[in-house]
Symmetry: C2
Subunit: 228 residues, 2 copies
């Protein structure tokens, strides 16, 4: 909630009487509707809302805003249906300095309550495009400035072996697929490169949000000259 | 389920009639109890179990098994109460080749159904110790072989700046705290080093499981000579 207020996207606030001065201060200057705890719970879609709920303005970004190419990375999520994973990846993309996130048709709606909460405000920090397709995103990329990199556990190329060879000024569009089914054949066919995160133990794969964190921070390290 | 069978820890299987040859084959050689879909759902604690549930044998590891020191990293989770985060971190630790995971008193029970599912079998792959304390873990470490590194967003030292200077043969015990409260004062006081993951965008922090993924894979990269 604090993050949404800071981002200037809150249009209306619902407060419980007696919520305390801190929450009332958070709502200062915004239209407030006073509600009971049970109404707040119904609005918040969670069992333990923290005394305040905000209604926020959000608009999906354009393809070009989420995928500027050159400079910071972009993240393309293909059919990611778990809202917690999608929100966590949006948060991680923000933290890692990515330019934007794109969700293909068939992915979760990023305004899903669980996704918004998992994004911890980042949904309002960087451009997030929805209802895009692998083909549309691929077509929007200038290959001389941005590499279309598909992360998949069965790729031959090790993420770290590959990343070390990518020039610092080249940017990357990272493509992640749903955990159960992985990336589509279409994504593989359109990829400039397919890479896998090395598995050193006995795990068969990584959670997709963990995989995104590894790739995006390894890439941030590369762009700052930290990788060999 | 497949992971648990492969790990040899399943002691009994519950199957729904008509679950199909694939699931029946998975249960081959194990004691099977046939149950209705509604009973299976009650046992599985999920709304959409996949036709099979296994009862597994699991024992917490000793402190020394989870924290051998020298070689691979260990992961110490301080008061991590979210089962999804704990399970995802156990899975990521396994993937990154960590030696083991420790949970302090006050953390979630790793046999919690959500934690087991989030670990995707990794709970059965590497030693996981429970009911430990920061002090107990710190005392078990030989500082000449293992560094007690506390990850916290307010540290001055950048993870990547620090890691590049750690000798490849030195191993690290990574300490992560709960998202809301962070690591304890005790953990900070006992730390050899406190490091932060750099935040390049506008996110105020990372999800703890994403933070663990970044640290553990950066460390795996360091141990393999990939970091500058």
């Amino acid at each position: 909630m604090r993050e949404a207020v800071a981002a200037g996207v809150v249009v209306e606030v619902f407060l419980v009487p007696g919520a305390g001065p801190e929450l009332e201060q958070l709502a200062a200057g915004l239209p407030v509707t006073w509600v009971s705890q049970s109404v707040l719970e119904a609005i918040a879609e969670t069992r333990t809302p923290q005394g305040i709920v905000g209604s926020c303005r959000w608009e999906p970004a354009s393809l070009s805003a989420a995928l500027p190419g050159g400079g910071p990375a972009s993240v393309l999520l293909e059919a990611i249906s778990d809202p917690g994973n999608a929100g966590t990846i949006i948060r991680t993309a923000d933290a890692a300095g990515a330019a934007g996130v794109l969700l293909t048709t068939g992915s979760v709606d990023p305004t899903n309550g669980k996704c918004v909460r998992a994004s911890a405000g980042s949904l309002f920090h960087l451009p997030v495009a929805v209802e895009t397709s692998i083909h549309e995103a691929r077509s929007a990329i200038d290959p001389s400035r941005m590499t279309f990199a598909v992360a998949t556990g069965d790729a031959e190329l090790d993420l770290f072996d590959w990343l070390g060879s990518v020039p610092e000024q080249q940017s990357i569009c990272w493509v992640f697929g749903a955990e159960a089914s992985g990336v589509s054949d279409q994504a593989r066919a359109l990829a400039d490169v397919q890479v896998r995160i090395p598995l050193f133990g006995r795990a068969e794969s990584l959670n997709v949000a963990a995989a995104a964190a590894v790739c995006l921070y390894a890439d941030a390290g590369r762009q700052r000259g930290k990788l060999k």
